[in-house]
């Protein structure tokens, strides 16, 4: 799949923002006044900024509000509902903390749950697609949620939790890569099932000499040696560097800031790969992915 920057930025930043809201909602830490204002400002900038980036991905933005209508069937619609209700509820919770020094735990818990549901729905948008076997596995929503929690723990200055979650994230992402590499063959779609022609089938001519929406959007292939390099970069920046920084310096502001930056850059690389490595079965009609299909 074509790794569109708007979607990568959206899922990474808003994930971290909702992760921070999750910990603030749980009262880890319980903050009030100016400090609370600072925390919530960061959380809302990340979460809302990310959501805005995803709107840029739409080709017909004026109908975006209609995406709230299909929550019964569509994960994308559910994501919208969870996001808006989490942001509104947490705004009430935050307002009370910032301006009235009051913490209403129930609202916080509910807001935390909704924040997590938002990130889970984001993961499910991808995981539900049978057409992209690499995404169609439980580890997809698992890494979206773990990444959000790890980022949130870092941002909310919970060093021990952050380290546990960062290491867990490394494991989940590693599993997703490993499992993902065999998903295309497991799904069983081949150029033979796609065309139902018998014997050894290969593409002779594409429908048109040029590129089209489908080849541009879905038949994106990344060189294997680049993928391996990027996986190493991703895991080092996303997990190893932040864990070491937190272990060595503890919860001091500057090292934590560095840890956050490294973590997010690592996540960008992971998300870029998440798209770039994903093989859509329609590629079979364009002669792609035949090396990955089941034999």
């Amino acid at each position: 799949m074509n790794p569109a920057p708007s979607v990568i930025i959206f899922s990474t930043l808003s994930g971290a923002g909702f992760g921070l809201l999750f910990f603030l909602g749980l009262g880890l830490p319980t903050v009030t006044g100016f400090i609370a204002f600072g925390f919530y400002l960061i959380a809302y900038l990340l979460a809302v900024g990310g959501l805005l980036a995803s709107v840029f991905h739409l080709k017909n933005k004026k109908n975006a509000w209609k995406s709230y209508s299909q929550w019964r069937t569509s994960w994308l619609s559910r994501e919208g509902w969870f996001a808006v209700s989490a942001l509104l509820l947490m705004a009430i919770y935050a307002g009370l903390q910032v301006f009235l020094d009051t913490t209403v735990a129930t609202i916080g818990f509910l807001g935390a749950a909704l924040s997590l549901c938002t990130v889970f729905s984001t993961g499910m948008i991808y995981a539900q697609l049978k057409t992209i076997p690499r995404w169609n596995q439980p580890a997809t929503p698992a890494f979206f949620v773990t990444a959000s929690l790890a980022g949130g723990a870092l941002l909310s200055n919970n060093p021990t939790l952050a380290n546990i979650l960062l290491i867990l994230l490394g494991i989940v992402v590693g599993f997703h890569w490993w499992k993902g590499d065999s998903r295309f063959a497991e799904a069983g779609s081949t150029i033979g099932t796609a065309t139902q022609l018998s014997g050894k089938v290969s593409l002779w001519e594409k429908p048109h000499t040029g590129e089209n929406y489908l080849t541009h959007e879905m038949v994106y292939q990344v060189a294997r040696k680049h993928a391996v390099k990027l996986r190493i970069i991703a895991i080092v920046l996303m997990t190893v560097v932040p864990v070491l920084l937190v272990l060595i310096f503890g919860a001091h502001h500057l090292p934590v800031l560095l840890a956050v930056v490294s973590h997010l850059i690592g996540l960008f690389a992971q998300r870029w790969l998440f798209f770039a490595e994903a093989e859509h079965v329609v590629g079979l009609y364009y002669g792609a992915h035949t090396a990955k299909q089941a034999t």
Binding site: M1, H57, L58, K59, N60, K61, K62, N63, A64, K66, S67, Y68, S69, Q70, R72, T73, S74, W75, L76, S77, G80, I125, Q128, L129, K130, T131, I132, A187, G188, S189, I191, T193, A194, T195, Q196, L197, S198, G199, K200, V201, S202, L203, W204, E205, K206, P207, H208, T209, G210, E211, N212, Y213, L214, E217, M218, H280, V281, V282, Y285, Y286
Partner: protein, 257 residues
């Protein structure tokens, strides 16, 4: 609602004959023409007189295949032209993922359509379709897909013989057939039964309505060659070992002396 209807009264769809399709792209042109000049946003071209680009609801791929040997006899390789448009799936994944309700499947005839006034151009439905049957138009920014020419098949303002999809009407080889696949006695259902109609990518669980008829095996006038034969040998062999005619008479006369 983008929930799928549990059953549809009819299953209107196409039956595409891979044996007769000659890959002329006439249906591609007819489809683009009809659907640009009629319902909905036109199908744009980014560079109409330059490099090929733009939105199409129907595209023809071409494949080559080498069938497995039958009883150790090698089979001839085949070229197959492969038209592909929306298959109006019964379990259409493109419909259920749609957040705006723009994508829907009609309960009365099973046609899968996009309401362009509600579509936000997120492209998720195109990701959900295994067959590449949906494309976001780059100019209009809305999702385009085969409508099964819903604005022809029920259109009382055109002649009765015109009330079939543009691609079916135009195909010079008669490779595209339109009808109700829920009715076992319809022409299309009989064709599917007779020729062994096939679902594309059945493992995706979409239950396509459109069916594909397999290409018939190539004719073999003589046994296919194994590659060892000397094809010039029959032409180089001497036509007659014994001289005939005058030379034969001379030969025999001289012999007698």
């Amino acid at each position: 609602m983008t929930a799928l209807p549990t059953t549809t009264q009819k299953k209107l769809g196409l039956v595409i004959d891979l044996d007769t399709c000659v890959g002329c792209h006439a249906c591609v042109t007819a489809c683009k023409g009809w659907n640009t000049q009629n319902y909905g946003a036109p199908l744009s071209d980014q560079d109409p007189y330059g490099a090929a680009s733009g939105t199409f609801l129907n595209r023809i791929h071409s494949f080559q295949s080498q069938p497995e040997p039958v009883n150790d006899v090698p089979q001839l390789a085949q070229t197959t032209h492969f038209p592909k448009s929306c298959l109006h799936c019964e379990d259409a994944p493109c419909v259920t993922v749609c957040p705006t309700g723009a994508s829907y499947k009609r309960a009365e005839d099973g046609i899968v359509l996009v309401n362009e006034d509600a579509c936000m151009g997120c492209g998720l439905c195109a990701w959900a379709c295994p067959y590449g049957a949906r494309e976001v138009d780059q100019v209009a920014g809305v999702m385009k897909k085969c409508t099964l020419c819903v604005d022809r098949i029920y259109n009382e303002n055109i002649e009765e013989e015109e009330r079939v999809p543009a691609c079916v009407r135009t195909c010079p080889a008669g490779a595209r057939h339109f009808g109700d696949l829920a009715d076992p006695d319809s022409d299309v259902s009989r064709l599917v039964a007779e020729r062994g109609g096939m679902d594309l990518m059945p493992e995706q669980g979409t239950k396509p309505v459109n069916q594909y008829l397999p290409p018939r095996p190539r004719d073999t006038i003589q046994a296919p060659m194994a590659g060892e034969e000397d094809i010039l040998a029959p032409f180089l062999a001497p036509v007659a070992e014994e001289p005939a005619g005058f030379m034969g008479w001379l030969d025999r006369a001289l012999e007698k002396l």
